[in-house]
Amino acid sequence: MKKWPGKILLFFVTAAASVAAVLIGIYYFHFISQRIYEDSAVHLEEIYGQVNHSLGAFISKNWGLLDSWDDYLASEKDAEESDIYDFINEKRAYWGFSEFYFLSYDGTYITLDGTEGIMDLGEAWDSLMEQKNPVMSGGTLSTDQDVTIFAIPVQHGKYKNVTFNAIAISYTNADIADSLNVDAFFGKAACFVIHDNGNVLLSTQPGGNVFENYLVYLNAASDLNKKELKQIGSDWENGKSGLLQCKIGGVNHYILYQPVKYQDYILLSVVPQNAVSAGFLSIQKATVCVLIIIFLIISTLAIALIVLYIQKQSRRNKTELAYRESMFNVLSNCVDDIFLMLNIHTQKAEYISPNIERLLGIPAAEAKQNIRIMEKCAINYNIVIPEKELEAIPLGGSRFWECEYMHQNTGERRWYRMTVYHLDIQNVKKHIIVLSDRTLEQQTNHQLQEALTVAKSANEAKSNFLSNMSHDIRTPMNAIVGFSVLLEKDADKPEKVLEYTRKITASSHHLLSLINDVLDMSKIESGKTSLNVDLFHLPQFLEELNIILMPQAKAKKQSFEIHVQGSPPEKLMGDKLRLNQILINLLSNAIKYTPENGQVTFQIVELPQPTQQYTKLRFIVQDNGIGMSEEFIEQIFTPFSREISSVTNKIQGTGLGMAITKNLVDLMGGIIQVESQPGEGSTFTVELSFALPEQEQTDSEPWFHNSITRILVADDEEEICLDIKEMLKSEGMEAAYATNGAAAVEAAVLAHQSGKDFDIILLDWKMPEMNGVETARNIRMHLGSDVPILVLTSYDWAEIEEEAREAGINAFMQKPFFVSAFQRAVRPLFHVQTAETPAEPEPADETMKGRLFLVVEDNELNAEILTEMLDMEEAKCELAVNGSEAVEMFEKSKPGYYDMILMDVQMPVMNGYEATRKIRSSHHPDAKNIPIVAMTANTFAEDVRNAMDAGMDGHLAKPIDMDTVRDLIGKLIGRKQDT
């Protein structure tokens, strides 16, 4: 059975209750009306019964009066007319009638004063004259005056010589009204005496009578129908009483008629209902009002309860709806799918999930107002709410389109699958549109596509790399192999051997650099690169850099200058090797890609110090070489990328250098930038921060001990002068400067003449017009040899050294200027005592002489090379081919037998790490002390760390560089001796 919804049930119950209440009200109203009618009828009948009685009495009285006067006239036949006149006139004054008439049989009359006329009594005349009945009748006099006549037949007599057969008196309607005293109902009632045919005999209406026949009038003016009128007429003819209600002129009236006792007259009363029932009606109205008020109160209460119930339900529904909507909004905000409910007829969105603003930049309210606003952000316009296609979707069916939108504000593109469901929701056809976000999927596809492209590109690059490497490796290998053959062939020719050996060495170094680059890149890419931060000396670092690069630049006849701007700290904490690698890469490239006679400058700029613990330096490598295209700049730091051009094709390279550089800069937390124009050169800028070591006491005393307080600096670049001046100032010295040689000479002479010679004169070598040597010569001419003169140069001064010393130059300094370097240069001239006073001249390195090494190497060739190298150092070695054998040999050896163990790592039977651990854990007296150095091609930091973890003391990378071996061994053996 179908269950009716609560609201409908409630509505029907309320409606039924209301109808019942209304029916009860109607019934009650009808009941009251009926009671009022009945009471009014009784009231009317009582009143007009009295009126009727009064009328009867009035008629009787008048006939009685006439009878008595007839008696008087009969008894006073001989009386004088004046007596009769007085008698009747006295009666008229007393009884209030209008006139007295003596009526003749012929219808004429004569009044007391002798006025004659004709009286028309109609049918009543016969009754009076023929039937000798007393009559009451309406009469019209010859004066056109309507009066009511009371007449009685009398014995004939004479008055003023007129014979009369009847006597009569007349009343006006007003007179009768006064006599009957019918002024009830506030004067609104009309009372008539009518004939049985409806003709009005008299009216007590205050205004007089204008009704000729009231039955006729009722027919015209009332709402009584013919049947009712006929019934009334019948009642009147039959002398019956009656009471009825009707409307006259739209107003409810009571019509009451009662037969008068005399003749066939009817007393007709017409009373407005509101006059009769005024009291009742007020009670009725009050009752109805009370009922209505009660009904309204009950209704109001019922309605209020219903409204409260509905509101409660509505609130509950709204709450639930709001909860659902909130939940849906939250859900939709958590997802990137957009939901719409569309009315197909209005094409308006009845619901849009609020995330549309986040996802498409369209406020939901605006989209709801006009769904076509979505077209603004649709990229493929063809499928924006396609109306026809929407209409074509069958009820219950769905269809989807792929579409793409762009965020209105951010321009972000999003991909959606728009699925449209055509549904019937409570007999209303709706379209639910779900825009399922496919952006991630699309982006993944794109990324995959890009990755594929990248992979292809990488693969291609690696193929190119392999191809290049094949070429680049084979080239030096070819040289090595070729020259080795030639070496064998010309072994007996020392000059040839020397030449071939040098070329083989060069090719080997090139090959080694290739391998190093590849390995470095491999390490970086695998994330295994770590920094080895240590204290290093910036001036020494730059000097070493200069030493390395200057020959390369010189070989290409390029100018290579190093400038320092500001006064950067000389001691820094950093990975010197990696910094060296970065700058060597940049500077080597600059030299490499700058044609002969080109210019390469290297500038170190001190940037504002970020904190007290750190300093920030900018390294600028600038050349005027071949430059790079914009496209290549974009991928310059991509591994294996090399610009292909007619120039670069001639230049060897792995295409890894810049990638390694970039990665190293990143690793050091710095930035690297490049600016370049093809044919105009390139500028690489690297900014790096370095920790500062703990502040050391500045040792300025040496200058004062030697009374060095005034310096003259001459350089054509004023900035260099100022920088030097600033640095010297920090050392407590005063510096003057000149930007050309002549000015320097002049300054020196002036100082000399004033007796205040400069303590040292520092001259740039290459100055325009007058170079440093010439300037020195001039100064010496004026000053003699007392004042030390130093030449500051970026160039190799070897070729001018002799000329310079002849000109009076005492020493040379490498640019850039550093105080420490200045001290070192000045020291021999003044015998300056400094904290860094070097020891005695270094003796010949005999660190390794006479030492016995246990060499653990599974590769015979490497073992042979190492054996030979040690032999060159006058050292000896014993060879073990794996770790196990080495352990055995060590354990069997006497204490102090071996000075050091050189341990390969990757070996069969037992690797170097395990062997080291066994040695360290052995009971041999030297187990803990004997230096063990890893000697391996595994050069990564973790390799070094692993070696240390295994108990080794050092790490040497293959191929073995004897200088490195010598240094390390020196340190370790020294340490061993200390222990």
Partner: protein, 420 residues
């Protein structure tokens, strides 16, 4: 065709030498001055001819075109060329001729008793002096009602104001329009109520014309205006009375839509068109506007012949008037003329049955046309305008009366009437 009430009162008069009168033996010439159109009336030419024939005297008829008459006649009087006999309506224009100075009072003439009350009253001044002999055709105005319809409704005509009120309400209750009241073109009706106020009280009229009192001060005027206002409110004029004009009266009456209207008898011969009801269905009762108990009939405006009391032919001029007032002579002159009686002995005129039937009532309640003709500054249009404002609720009863006063006084002032 619409016909203004100021024009409709047609009076027939004949100038007949009484056959019994003895004319002066000496032949003489009497000058009679009047409007040209008036003098050309058939009953006028008839009486002139009868007189000349019977007396041997000559009559010098001096006429002016209607539009020039007042000015030209005034000039003649000013220049001392007043005629022996001067014919003029007893209206406010007569004042310019210095009545008391120029004209002979006819109170004692033998024919005075033969005049109907209405005619005699019309020809008197405010002091009751008879100024002239009325000799004109006229009509009787009152309340003409559809007696057939009244019979059908079981009603009968009213004889008093109270009965009239009852009758109106009884008719309204039947759904008929009691009174056809053409507010938009019934300018004449308001004077029916005013006539008895001033006709019955000449001193009051004199005070009003001397600007010594106003309508606002006269209780009967207020009663009249109040009654008209109440009647309109009760629906006795129907629903659309404000839009009803002259041309709507006939359709309303001949269809039975309206039962009564205030009009004059000759209207039935000039403007009434038969419809469901014909002229025979109508009868006459007094017009009731709450200013007299028994209602009022308004008599016509009558042209009267006045005698120049400075005339050298005074006796002959008086003899001429007596000749005209002779029953034989005037019956000869007015033979076949449709009019009401000026002389009681008129028996050759044609009188409508409606008037004949109401003769008793007319005799009792007729008043001379007083308001329109004797109140200085009275204008039918102005009064109608004041009532229009009342009907449209733009003003109340007091406001309406003040407007009537304002217009009247303004018009009198404009005409240079002394006292205004």
């Amino acid at each position: 065709m619409k016909k203004k009430y100021s024009m409709p009162l047609l009076l027939a008069s004949a100038f007949i030498l009484a056959s019994c009168a003895k004319p002066d033996n000496s032949s003489d010439t009497l000058t009679i001055m009047g409007k040209k159109s008036d003098m050309e009336k058939s009953y006028m030419t008839s009486i002139f001819e009868q007189y000349e024939s019977a007396s041997g005297n000559k009559l010098n008829i001096i006429t002016f075109e209607d539009e020039d008459f007042e000015t030209a006649a005034t000039e003649k009087f000013a220049e001392g060329e007043a005629p022996d006999i001067f014919m003029h309506f007893n209206n406010s224009d007569l004042e310019r001729f210095d009545v008391s100075e120029n004209f002979y009072y006819l109170n004692n003439e033998s024919w005075v008793t033969d005049l109907t009350n209405s005619a005699a009253s019309y020809c008197q001044d405010s002091d009751g002096n008879l100024l002239g002999l009325p000799f004109w055709e006229s009509s009787i105005s009152g309340c003409y009602y559809n007696k057939t319809l009244l019979d059908e409704l079981g009603l009968k005509p009213a004889t008093t104001q109270k009965e009239f009120n009852v009758l109106c309400q009884a008719l309204a209750d039947t759904g008929y329009t009691p009174i056809c009241w053409p507010a938009d073109g019934g300018e004449w009706m308001y004077q029916f109520g005013l006539d008895p106020i001033f006709a019955d009280n000449p001193p009051l009229l004199d005070k009003l014309n001397k600007n010594q009192t106003t309508y606002y001060d006269i209780a009967d005027v207020r009663k009249m205006v109040q009654w008209v206002s109440d009647a309109a409110d009760k629906g006795w004029f129907g629903k659309d009375y404000l839009k009803t004009g002259w041309d709507d009266i006939s359709p309303a009456m001949n269809s039975g839509q309206a039962v009564m209207t205030f009009i004059w008898d000759t209207w039935f011969y000039t403007d009434f068109e038969e419809g469901k009801y014909s002229i025979n269905d109508f009868a006459l009762m007094p017009a009731f506007m709450n200013t007299t108990i028994g209602g009022v009939y308004e008599g016509g405006n009558l042209n009267m012949m006045m005698v120049n009391k400075k005339s050298s032919h005074l006796e002959k001029a008086l003899g001429f008037l007596s000749f005209c007032a002779s029953e034989k002579n005037y019956n000869t002159a007015f033979d076949g003329i449709s009019t009401i009686k000026c002389f009681k002995g008129q028996n050759t005129i044609i009188q409508s049955q409606m008037v004949t039937d109401a003769q008793v009532s007319i005799s009792a309640n007729e008043r001379a046309s007083t308001a329109a003709s004797k109140i200085f500054g009275y204008s039918q249009d102005d009064v109608a305008a004041a009532f229009d404002s009342l009907f449209r609720k733009n003003t109340d009863v007091d406001g309406c009366i003040k407007l009537m006063d304002k217009y009247r006084i303004g018009e009198a002032h404009k005409c240079g009437i002394e006292g205004f």
